[in-house]
Amino acid sequence: MSSLELTNISKRFGAVSVFQGLSLTIAAGEFVAFLGPSGCGKSTLLRIIAGLERADSGEIRLGDQRIDTLAPGARGVAMVFQHYALYPHMTVRENIAFGLRNGGAPKAEIAERVAEAARVLEIGPLLDKKPGTLSGGERQRVAIGRAIVKQPRLFLFDEPLANLDAALRTRTRLELAQLRRRVRATMIMVTHDQVEAMTLADRVVVMNQGEIQQVGTPMQIYDRPANTFVAGFVGSPRMTLAPVGLVPGDARFATVRLGDGSQVSTRVPRADLPSEGLLLGLRPECVRLGPPRPGEPTAQVEFIERLGDRTLVYVKLGDGTAVTAEDKGASQAQVGQTVGLRLAAAAAHLFGPDGRGHHAAGRAG
């Protein structure tokens, strides 16, 4: 169990620059998720840490050791590949033991560690099978087994759940959470799925186009998105981002005016807020429906999604601004209907013209 420190990592593939001076620190024993859209560089960063890809510059330290100059096998790092990369001609047992054999560990110790890994992952009955005869979920357990027998200081998972079907994914997510409690090690998981990142990780590193957008606990990321990218990427359906104007005044908190003229009194301190080019951020659960009332925004229903326990209602304000609202499961809303919007203004966010987020004072985080 060791802390990981990336300093000033830069990497380019030919003309394409992936990272320019990326730095990140992960505490010992932490479970961190790299979250971002496809192609943002998550896998590349993981592979640089593993030593499968060389950074053009920068330094990587694991614990008190500099590892970016070491061969992959010498870094004390284990990786579970997205497509598992099990050796097809070896049995499960040989797959798991292969790394230990390379290291010249005594036979008895290898057998003991393989048996222990098989017990933890419940793959004992599979030990003498070849990977080709296993299901996707079983292969993944074997891949995890191959990683944990090495007792690495750092685990790397590349999209561990992406290749599993929906039912298996939920189960495996739970198992990963349990595994995490049994195996004391620092872990990094790459994912483009925010639910995986939010449910499994202690901290989430949100990335976009090779740059770290925000690092924080899942609730910090959700409640206080650092910028419009994080606000839009985390949370499903997306947070509504509506252009607003700042209403002049000298109150402590900012009041803004939507395109249709209605006003929203936020709990965002007015102090260091830019006066122009603001966007109002509202999560769907902060926008409820009701009969139209004076002083509140009214909107027309465009589209309805019934999810059973709740209903998502996509509406348009008088000036055409699109807003996503949430209603109860048995919603009466109908397309074309005019409705009133009840905004939980205290939970609203504001984003400046540079994309930076400004949040309600006093909220957790």
Binding site: A50, G51, L52, A71, P72, G73, A74, V77, A78, M79, F81, H83, A85, L86, Y87, P88, H89, F98, G99, N102, G103, R146, K150
Partner: protein, 293 residues
């Protein structure tokens, strides 16, 4: 159930229709000559004259024919000289050239190019290399102050000289087969092996070689079958000499059939060669299947 039966019946008929043209060609071009050859080997037959059934007389003659026994020995020796060398060298080339990039592509082309040359050109080139009279090797030896080696006129060096020529000529195909096999191995496996701390040597023996096992078998089989049928190189470079030291079975067959017109006897020698090739292939196949269990 009855519906299924009807379907299967019709499917069978359609199947035969599809396979039919191939089966006709296969029968006419392979099965018939094979059987005709077997029949011929049981006759005393002249290329232009009559035929007389002699049962196994031709085979009895073969057994006591020292020229034929020498040819069998030469063929086996030649196969042992060429097939392992071809396999190892072409695998080494494939491993070295199995990467992206122009230089590797260029060398893949270079090493394959010799295979497209005809036997006449290959033997011409190699006679220039091997001749003691100002050849490439002779010049090299002279520069080092050594006497030239008369490869093709020394009974102990004629077959090795032909083997050298053949290896150079035949490297292209097995190299391409190995390259195709290597490209089937996912790169992730090598990354997993790197993270498992596997040395390059162990990666080759424990990952690469087992995963191209089938290609290896195919290469050894194809090359054995081909090298058992050595003919052109001996015919052109040494005419089987000196003193029969480089005469392979096919050259023996050719001489018996078309110089001595003893077609029945030649046919029996062909059947022996056929049996030898079949036996060698079956042994290799069985050996690798045994190991794969």
């Amino acid at each position: 159930m009855s519906a299924g039966d009807g379907y299967r019946g019709r499917g069978g008929l359609v199947g035969y229709l599809f396979a039919g043209p191939y089966l006709v060609a296969y029968g006419a071009l392979l099965v018939y000559p094979l059987l005709a050859g077997m029949a011929l080997s049981l006759h005393k037959a002249d290329l232009f004259g009559g035929r007389e059934f002699v049962a196994f007389e031709n085979y009895r003659r073969l057994v006591s024919d020292t020229v034929f026994r020498q040819a069998v020995g030469n063929t086996l020796y030649f196969t042992l000289l060429t097939v392992p060398a071809l396999t190892v060298i072409s695998l080494a080339l494939a491993l070295a050239l199995n990467k992206a990039g122009r230089l590797a592509a260029f060398f893949r082309g270079v090493f394959f190019s010799s295979s497209v040359l005809s036997v006449t050109i290959v033997t011409l080139i190699w006679r220039f290399v091997l001749t003691p009279d100002g050849g490439l090797i002779a010049n090299g030896l002279k520069a080092a102050g050594r006497a030239p080696i008369p490869f093709l006129s020394d009974p102990h060096l004629a077959l090795p000289g032909i083997a050298l020529t053949t290896v150079w000529w035949c490297l292209g195909l097995p190299m391409m087969l190995f390259l195709a096999g290597l490209q089937q191995i996912p790169g992730e496996l090598y990354e997993a092996a790197a993270l498992d701390g596997t040395s390059a040597w162990r990666t080759f023996w424990r990952i690469t070689l087992p995963l191209i096992g089938r290609t290896l078998l195919v290469v050894v089989l194809i090359e054995s079958v081909m090298q058992f049928q050595l003919f052109g190189q001996s015919q052109i470079m040494t005419q089987g000499g000196p003193n029969g030291a480089s005469r392979p079975i096919v050259l023996f067959i050719y001489e018996v059939a078309f110089r001595r017109w003893d077609v029945g006897y030649a046919a029996s020698a062909s059947e022996v060669l056929f049996a030898l090739i079949l036996l060698a292939s079956a042994l290799q196949y069985a050996a690798t299947r045994e190991r794969r269990r």
